[in-house]
């Protein structure tokens, strides 16, 4: 293990580690633009120059391997002057767009200028004109004037997506990043990452442009619910300036680094798939149908009605009740729901819904299963039997007259492979209760609808396709009168006079871990490391 000294502090690193990463280990951030840990070293921005004893010239720390006995200085006069020079060079042709640039606040030209620049401009010449505000993809706008040619984006399309849409064309200071002229837009499903890795405002996200200033944003750690990969994400929410972003509380979502799950990336489907959270079709109040006419309810009335419907049904026989949970629900919600319905004697508790079309999948991140918690539901041993989707089994039972009451959690059957049959069968049933986040064809016809919170409005855990249990945190309050799944289940339990259910996800997880063999005995969510790593190891051993 090479041991080296950086700014007087000793650190040992794995062989092959570069000086920039070694410094990071000591909490020393060496300014850089082109270096990105997930991309090949370009060594071209020249910002990460450091002084290494015994070497006459400054060295780029991204391309210098840490060596035993090496003595590195990252903040000497010589280094600071070199950084200042690089910054000055980059700013020579960088437009003064900051007031209208979305990167402002998280732009590394600004950040490093404040830290290492702060010189007086001596530019008396005109800046070079290049193309501005050029849409280069469904989600990305390119501004060539702002570009510092760090080539991160080009390397991303070569090394990560392997789609090769971007290149650096021409040479010298006429060089530009651009799409190959033979194509009209980016062709990969990971373009949002380009805006993330661009250290300046050259590539901005069309979803986020002009929505809000980044300094109004707060962050919550979360897990993307878009598929069974469970990419770790950062939910950027804005609750201090409600008028921004057209009232959307979540102007953007960004990937959060997790080497075991998603690296530094996430797909566009996941990144832009959260918009239902602030959509106009959110279910905001409990509602029942009275002779086909919608009537809004208070929560107490809604719980009473739900309890009545369920009591009536179970009186006829718990067999007559079918429950369709969802693999979009958290482990805690699934566990609490299983407990509640089991205690009513209900045994038909499923969750599997087959989509109309099989989901897209690739060998990077995207999984065909568009649910974040199928594995969790499986580990909880939910489901009506193998081979068939649980929806099909429930519909079979309903058609056979074995089931006449269903409770559906957040699954729009009109989008499932059983859409037609569901449309025919559901209206004929005695009682349909729908618990969900947004209005859809299934919710519209339910006798009772209970508004549920979305993933950004609650905390909990999802178990990804590999069995990794990953925790996520709440960003914003549930919209309108909607409540978390646990809260709704707790209310129902009370109304039904059953054993109380905790509304606290952490408590529920502790109980779940206690009772479900597949989960680690005695665990609690707060002990979950962000990778969910130890838990998976434990699961694997069983």
């Amino acid at each position: 293990m090479p041991t080296l000294k950086i700014d007087g502090k000793e650190v040992w690193v794995e062989p092959g580690t570069n000086v920039l990463e070694a410094a990071k280990k000591l909490g020393i951030e060496i300014p850089h633009y082109c270096y990105h840990p997930a991309l090949k070293v370009a060594g071209s921005c020249r910002m990460c120059l450091v002084e290494i004893e015994g070497m006459p010239k400054l060295q780029i720390s991204c391309h210098t391997k840490a060596a035993d006995g090496m003595v590195v200085w990252t903040n000497t006069e010589k280094v600071r002057k070199a950084r200042q020079a690089v910054l000055e060079f980059l700013l020579v042709d960088h437009p003064l767009d900051c007031p209208v640039c979305d990167q402002a606040g998280e732009c590394y030209l600004q950040i490093y200028y404040m830290e290492h620049g702060l010189y007086k401009s001596r530019l008396r010449e005109n800046k070079i004109k290049k193309e501005k505000a050029k849409p280069i993809g469904k989600h990305i706008i390119l501004d060539q004037e702002r570009c510092i040619l760090c080539s991160r984006c080009v390397r991303f399309t070569r090394e990560v997506t392997k789609t090769f849409e971007l290149g650096i064309f021409n040479r010298g200071n006429r060089s530009v990043v651009d799409l190959y002229p033979g194509i009209s837009e980016l062709q990969n499903r990971y373009q949002g990452n380009l805006a993330d890795i661009c250290p300046v405002g050259a590539l901005t996200d069309r979803n986020f442009r002009f929505q809000t200033r980044v300094w109004y944003l707060q962050q919550a750690k979360s897990i993307c619910p878009g598929c069974s990969r469970g990419c770790n994400i950062e939910v950027d929410y804005n609750i201090s300036r409600e008028y921004k972003a057209g009232g959307r509380r979540i102007p953007r979502i960004r990937p959060r680094h997790n080497p075991k799950v998603n690296g530094y990336w996430m797909c566009d489907d996941g990144r832009y798939g959260y918009k239902y959270v602030d959509a106009l079709d959110r279910i905001l109040l409990p509602r029942r149908l009275d002779e086909g006419e919608p009537v809004e309810l208070s929560w107490p009335a809604a719980y009473t009605m739900a309890a009545d419907l369920l009591s009536e049904a179970t009186k006829e026989g718990a067999d007559k009740v079918g429950v369709l949970l969802s693999a979009k629900m958290t482990n805690e919600e699934l566990f609490a729901a299983r407990k509640l319905f089991s205690s009513l004697g209900v045994s038909r508790i499923g969750f599997r819904v087959e989509p109309k079309e099989p989901g897209y999948e690739d060998d990077l991140l995207i999984k065909a299963d568009k649910n974040p918690n199928t594995k969790g539901a499986e580990l909880l041993e939910l489901g009506l039997g193998a081979g068939k989707s649980d929806v099909s089994a429930l519909l079979d039972a309903a058609e056979a007259g074995e089931v006449d009451t269903v409770v559906i959690f957040n699954e729009d059957l009109s989008k499932s492979s059983e859409a037609e049959r569901a449309e025919a069968v559901l209206p004929k049933l005695g009682r349909v209760i729908y618990v969900g986040t947004n209005w859809n064809a299934t919710a519209a016809k339910a006798d009772l609808v209970l508004p549920m919170a979305t993933f950004v409005e609650q905390e909990g855990t999802f178990t990804n396709f590999e069995g990794r249990v990953q925790r996520f945190w709440k960003a914003v309050e549930p919209l309108g009168e909607s409540r978390t799944g646990l809260s709704i289940l707790a209310g129902l339990a009370t109304a039904l006079g059953l054993e109380p259910v905790s509304e606290n996800a952490e408590e529920v997880f502790a109980e779940l871990a206690e009772q479900v063999p597949a989960f680690f005995r005695g665990s609690a969510t707060r002990n979950l490391v962000s990778t969910g790593n130890w838990l998976r190891a434990r699961l694997g051993r069983r």
Partner: protein, 157 residues
Amino acid sequence: MSVEFSEKALEQLRELLGHYPDRQAAVIPALHLAQEEFGYITQEVEDYVAKLLEIPATDVHQVFTFYTMFRDRPVGKYHIKVCESVACHIMGSTNVLDYLRKKLGIDVGQTTPDGRFTLTTVECLGACEMAPMMQVNDDFYGPLDEKKLDEILESLE
């Protein structure tokens, strides 16, 4: 219009491909060939070369835009390239260029209406002993003065 190499060019390309352990190495030779075949390089040509070499068209375009000898528009029958670098400069290349501009009635980067002459400037051609000098198509001429230029242009008429 679909671009395609002549049989002869394809034969040359096959021969060239044998020179290298991978196909990408043949990009520059292939673009030279294409320029000989088609006169200049269009995007269709880039796509065609990319297909022939089984590499991303972006890589062809990066190469195409990097090297100054590749052009995206036709040139006249005689392509005059006046060296502007230091050895020629101190020997009066500016005068050479001015004279040619005046005589041909075109500016740098333009082609005479009759399609005979295209005038461009280039960086050092490695013939400074002839300074000021120029290249017309493949041939070097220098040292140049007005009389010499008149003679050369006449010989090219």
